[in-house]
């Protein structure tokens, strides 16, 4: 199968994730969309790795997974504490950080 198709899939997934981040208000959904974007990138890395015949892309995919795992821990903790204080998981409600 043509590896370029994986790239098309990666671009599609990334677009879905980005759109979700921009238009959804629920923090959990935004979070899941971010994960989607990360994994779209991973897919692209692996595809490129295959296309170019070296392992660099795969190694970076592992790094991305590690970072994503750490991010999930921190991000979920923030979302939980946000929900506890404000009784809402809407990202638009948490708009106090402004001038």
């Amino acid at each position: 199968m043509n590896p370029v198709n994986y790239l098309y899939l990666a671009a599609l997934l990334f677009t879905i994730g980005a759109t979700g981040v921009l238009i959804r208000r629920n923090a959990i959904v935004v979070f899941m969309c971010i994960e989607l974007m990360l994994n779209a990138c991973n897919l692209a890395f692996v595809a490129f790795s295959r296309m170019h015949g070296n392992l660099d892309g795969q190694i970076i995919a592992f790094f991305t997974m590690v970072v994503a795992a750490a991010e999930v821990v921190v991000g979920l903790a923030i979302i939980v504490s946000l929900f506890r204080t404000r009784h809402s998981a809407s990202v638009d409600d948490a708009s106090l950080m402004k001038l």
Binding site: A18, V21, L22, I23, R25, V91, D92, A94, S95, L96, M97, K98, L99
Partner: protein
């Protein structure tokens, strides 16, 4: 023997240090310490003089290298002294006349409680002046030059509790700064032109430099000389400098300070010889000043100011002679020395008169004093005869030579300069006769005077502080004051003849300054005859106006010229209108430009950025999703830009 040069300067410097640092415990002996150290310096000078006389004319230059002052790359400044015939002449004049003035001040300042400090300043003055004439390079000369400026500031403003004295000191200092700037620029030009500012390299390599550069150096040196020697256009400080105690005036006018400019020009003769334009400027300055000072001297009723005008005029003669080149250098210095004698004598005489007259300076309140002050009268009279050039006295020989040299310049210039010098001689005879007649002859106008009117000019404060408003009782001054006057009178009588007979002075100074005879359109006898005629005319007019008729005790209104001369020919008004007002207008317009243009650009930039950031701040709205849009937009732009660049 050259090791004696440094102690020559060190003696008065030590005196200044001891007297100024020593404090009140030296009050009782301070004046004798000062006089002693100044005399010691004179004795060192005499020993060196004897040593020089014992050598051949070519070997009469001693140098003493003390230490290297600054050495940076090609920039080398040494503390080296150079004693040749020219500086020797100055050393003897400065220390000799200076010591006599010290001695006189012992009596004159007897009642001043700050006498010790006064002597400290006097010693400082001598030390600075000696450093000036003994330096072997222009930078060290500049140190002495500034020292003289400082000492004159301290001494002119010695009675600093009087606002007029404080102002006069400031004025002298500021006007001198203008000249100092000229000297510093000249030194910088010398360094860029010759790579050095020592006398040797500069003065022996004038042939290597272009005439334009030499003219620039010469003009800057002339500016410096104008400041120190009170020549037009920097003459205005000299009259006000009379606010200082009278011995200071004698010191400034005879031995130190005003002679520095003449020294500078004569010492830099090689530069001027190679720059005829600068030389012409020197002669013009000299001729203008000699007439300017003489005219001012005619109208002043204040005895010291009349003498100040005369100093300006006599220094004008010297500068004129120095501008004539090798024809005149020797005579400039000769007149400087004889002038040192008779002008010091005249000032000390004036001080003696004031001492006996409750510090009155207005000559219209003098008169008939010859009976009461015989010694002062005779010494002052001899000084008077010397300055007007009475045949046989010192002024006759030296001034006559300058007038001859001016005619010998040749061409139209020679006639103009010679004519100005002759006219100056006539005016000198007039105003000095006037001073003489008003002070020592005629009615005794100081009798039956009401107390001084408050607006009457008062140069010295002692009368007010002592509360003596009664009629003065003229009396002769003590011996400590009359002895210096007698010595100086002897010098003014015989000095000129001693120098001139057998051309002694010429042969002494010629190896340093060089000498050439000009071709005068008039014979020496004719010039002397013309000078005598001018002298008689001047004296006769003065006699007709002040001898035959009684002198009114209140100054009459006078002609337009008299009134102008009383105001120093509007020198201060000119300075005020042109320099002070002009300066104010300039600063105001600069402030305006600063406020509108410079501040406008700066404030405008700041306001622009402030407004821009106010707009940009709105982007910070707290919505995470709008930040995300910005990020996506930015990332998209970067990707697009990268693709675009790769495509190109």
């Amino acid at each position: 023997m050259e090791n004696l040069i440094a102690p020559l300067i060190a003696a008065p410097l030590l005196g200044a240090a001891v007297l100024l640092v020593g404090g009140r415990r030296l009050d009782r002996v301070g004046h004798w310490i000062g006089t002693l150290l100044s005399t010691a310096s004179f004795v060192f000078g005499l020993i060196l003089f004897a040593d020089l006389l014992g050598k051949n004319a070519e070997h009469r230059t001693l140098t003493q290298h003390l230490w290297t002052w600054i050495s940076v790359g090609g920039f080398q400044a040494d503390v080296t002294f150079r004693l040749d015939q020219l500086s020797m002449t100055f050393v003897l004049l400065i220390t000799g006349v200076g010591s006599l003035i010290h001695l006189y001040s012992v009596g004159y300042m007897e009642h001043d409680e700050r006498r010790r400090r006064f002597f400290g300043y006097l010693n400082l003055f001598l030390a600075a002046m000696l450093l000036l004439v003994l330096a072997d390079n222009y930078l060290l000369l500049y140190v002495g030059w500034e020292g003289v400026g400082l000492a004159s500031y301290l001494l002119i403003g010695f009675w600093q509790h009087k606002p007029s004295a404080a102002t006069a000191a400031k004025k002298a200092f500021l006007v001198n700064r203008v000249g100092d700037m000229g000297l510093s620029i000249a030194i910088m030009l010398m360094f860029t032109t010759f790579g050095s500012f020592a006398f040797g390299p500069v003065l022996s390599h004038t042939g290597d430099a272009s005439e334009g550069k030499l003219t620039a150096i010469g003009l800057m040196l002339l500016l410096a000389a104008c400041g120190k020697s009170a020549q037009v256009p920097l003459q205005s400080w000299l009259g006000d400098a009379m606010e200082g105690p009278t011995p200071v005036s004698a010191l400034i006018h005879a031995a130190t300070m005003v002679t520095a400019g003449v020294y500078l020009i004569v010492r830099s003769g090689a530069v001027f010889n190679a720059a005829p334009d600068a030389q012409l400027a020197v002669t013009v300055v000299g001729a203008v000043t000699l007439l300017f000072g003489a005219i001012v001297g005619c109208a002043k009723d204040d005895i010291k100011k009349a003498l100040a005008g005369s100093t300006m005029s006599q220094i004008g003669y010297m500068v004129l002679a120095a501008g004539l080149g090798p024809i005149g250098y020797v005579f400039a210095i000769m007149h400087l020395v004889t002038h040192g004698f008779f002008k010091a004598g005249l000032f000390l005489g004036a001080g003696s008169v004031m001492h006996g007259m409750n510090d009155e300076v207005d000559m219209r309140r003098y008169g008939g004093l010859r009976k009461y002050m015989p010694v002062t009268f005779i010494t002052f009279g001899l000084g008077y005869l010397a300055i007007i050039g009475f045949p046989g006295l010192s002024g006759f020989f030296s001034k006559d030579k300058i007038i001859e040299a001016a005619f010998a310049k040749g061409g139209t210039e020679g006639w103009i300069l010679g004519g100005a010098a002759l006219l100056g001689a006539a005016i000198t005879a007039f105003y000095m006769t006037r001073v003489m007649l008003m002070t020592f002859f005629g009615e005794e106008r100081w009798k039956n005077q009401p107390t001084r009117s408050p607006e009457a000019p008062s140069a010295e404060p002692a009368a007010e502080t002592r509360g003596e408003h009664s009629e003065p009782h003229p009396h002769e001054s003590p011996k400590v004051m009359t002895i210096p006057m007698i010595v100086l009178a002897v010098g003014s009588v015989f000095g000129g003849a001693f120098f001139s007979i057998g051309d002694r002075f010429l042969h002494w100074l010629e190896p340093v300054t060089g000498h050439s005879e000009g071709d005068s359109p008039l014979s020496a006898t004719a010039v002397t005859g013309a000078t005598m005629v001018c002298l008689v005319i001047g004296v006769a007019i003065a006699w007709a106006r002040y001898g035959r008729k009684p002198v009114p005790a209140v100054a009459p209104r006078g002609s337009l010229l008299t009134r102008a001369a009383r105001r120093d020919l509007f020198q201060d008004d000119f300075n005020h209108v042109v320099l002070v007002r002009g300066g104010e207008h300039l600063t105001r317009s600069l402030v305006y430009v600063d406020h509108t243009l410079v501040d406008g650009v700066v404030n405008g930039t700041a306001a622009g950025f402030g407004g821009l950031s106010g707009r940009l701040r709105r982007l910070q709205n707290g919505f995470a999703r709008s930040y995300a849009v910005s990020m996506f937009g930015g990332a998209a732009l970067l990707v697009a830009a990268t693709l675009l660049m790769r495509a190109v």
